[in-house]
Amino acid sequence: MTAPGQPGQLAAGEPHPGMPTYLGMPSFPDAARIAVADSQLRANLTHATHTIRAKRAGAVAELADWEQLRQAAKAIKDHTLAHLDTYLLRLEENVTRAGGQVHWAQDAGEANAIVAGLVRAAGADSVVKVKSMATQETGLNEALAADGISALETDLAELIVQLGHDRPSHILVPAIHRNRAEIREIFRTEMPDAPAGLTDDPPALAAAARSHLRQAFLSAQVGVSGANFAIAETGSLVVVESEGNGRMCVTLPRTLISVVGVEKILPSWRDLEVFLALLPRSSTAERMNPYTSTWTGITPGDGPENFHLVLLDNGRTSALADPTGRQALRCIRCSACLNVCPVYERVGGHAYGSPYPGPIGAIISPQLRGIADPVDASLPFASTLCGACYEVCPVAINIPEALVHLRAKVVDAKREKNFSPERVAFTLSGRVLRSPRLLAAAQRAASASRRVVARKGRIRLLPPPLSGWTETRDAPVPPPESFRAWWARTRGNRS
């Protein structure tokens, strides 16, 4: 489903003004139908998500106070959001004092323009990038390409996606939809310096990426990163990673530009004792990820000589205004909710039409982008509401609650329109349910219809307009007699 030219493919060099839906992307039900038919995709996803699920449970069970850590993280994030203006100003003051420069971007277009300007000012025409959801969201690579600046993704999975002319499908492991054999093929055809006789052994693939990127790291002039946390009290930024590509990008170039969503802020340094306990265990099921870098402005003689922090709104303040929806801003992008989701496991990340897939994506994308587009309007419905996501969320985001809330918003928005078959159906059923006489009649009619509509004990396909319901669901056959009819006949007498 990810071959060039198919839905979900980003047109090369296409700049993004906001966080647009992926071009030509169908809404979730249509995209899901295509995805579930892809048996290779489903096998890859099942394998990866089931592997990580069991490991995460083990890593979490090791800490007796997991729930207390989770509640503390929730409280810290809620507090920070309630005082977001205060903490952002404090962060700005402390980054500036430490020799960094702070820029503010209201939307993706502003953020991309700031970054492009800074790269040009540094006299560079290329940047090395460490995986960042914020720049994925703003479409920075495409915007830079339109400005003649090439961006090299250095995270292994992002590199696989970039070389494969593909889209990320997971927050943590953007190439989760690819297995090792597919990755080897991408390297063999798209990486000019891939070693001859490259196998699909993961260590061999990792080694190929290491040598491919080595020279780019050593000669890079500008690095672009996001940040997992920004500490208001000290002006410190924190990047959590595994491979060392993050360390390369934030250490070796002369200029470092970090694009960070305004909600990434934490009040104080000691908050890391909570969030660094929660994030690695939730994300990769490790006690700690291999590398975490922290830096505060500029350190003479060590690392970049210029540091720029770009603070990004891009719809976050709209989400903040929603009493139920704002909890999504607590998200630390661990992706535990993706790995446990029965819907994500079957359809994969591309079907969500956004850089943020899975359960958290289904509540973030419609809030950042609004629900005017059919893709965004369909996302709150991309869930069974089973609640597994809420259970694993390390910052206790009640995703089912937010989904239901957003569903109501989508329905309310539709209500503005004059006619909807759904509305007619529900008005009608409301009337029937309010009247005992009409209900009895409807039940008799349903019982009488059972021979006509059912096959093998299930209702499978009804004619239009009822097909809108039965296309995606089976329904049980109505009983020969309703409870009310049975009671009227027997008064509960079992004879």
Binding site: D65, W104, T292
Partner: protein, 224 residues
């Protein structure tokens, strides 16, 4: 453009918080201090547990090579480890400022040392056999080594580009938990938290060691 974007974002935040019914108390710091934190500040009692042993075990879980040596045996331990590396890779070992001279007292002939003075360009760091450092703090709970890039640790590039890193952890530097460890650090300094050699989970969510950072991490724990 930047100033007005700043003002507009701040104003949107204030409006949004009012709209969501979040009338925050005027004093953010007092409200922050009052936040409930019921989690354990320590998961392991340093009085009754072998914290150093726990650190050694958990660092080794990441497939770092971990050895415990007596303080007096440290020079011999370093000499042995570097000789082993030198047999496998050419080049010198870079030594940061502030590394105790006695640590390198027993090096065999044939091991060459380099100084980062003047600072070595990245391409030269890439030709080294490895780097030897101390650390600032270690965390037993997670098997993590923390560098604050002060004395005996060198600037960040020094422990990043070479493919082999020998780090000496003194038992007194091992904190039981994250809370204790972060309390010992100066946030104004740059830090690198290291938990095992460079790794990735990007292929099928399976951990594989050895990507861009040092692929060989050797830890010597010096105990009094």
């Amino acid at each position: 453009m930047s100033t007005s974007a700043r003002d507009r974002i701040l104003s949107r935040i204030r409006t949004a918080n009012r709209a969501a019914g979040q009338v925050a108390p005027a004093d953010a710091d007092a409200a922050y201090a009052a936040l409930s934190r019921e989690y354990l500040r320590a998961h392991h009692d340093a009085g009754t547990n072998d914290i150093t042993g726990l650190f050694a075990e958990r660092a080794a879980d990441y497939r770092a090579v971990v050895e415990r040596v007596p303080e007096s045996g440290l020079p011999a331990g370093i000499a042995r480890v570097l000789a082993g590396r030198a047999a496998a890779a050419s080049g010198s070992f870079v030594i940061p400022d502030g590394l105790p001279g006695e640590w390198l007292a027993g090096l065999p002939a044939g091991i060459t040392l380099a100084r980062d003075e003047p600072p070595l360009p990245p391409a030269e760091l890439d030709q080294l056999a490895g780097v030897v450092t101390g650390c600032a703090v270690a965390i037993a709970e997670t098997g993590t080594i923390i560098l604050d890039h002060g004395p005996a640790q060198g600037r960040r590039a020094l422990t990043l580009v070479p493919d082999f890193h020998l780090v000496v952890v003194q038992a007194s530097q091992v904190a039981a938990d994250l809370a204790d460890a972060f309390g010992r650090l100066d946030p104004g300094r740059p830090h690198t938290l290291i938990s095992g050699p460079s790794a990735t989970s990007d292929i099928e969510l399976i951990r594989v060691e050895g990507v861009h950072g040092p692929r060989n991490l050797h830890v010597l724990i010096a105990e009094a």
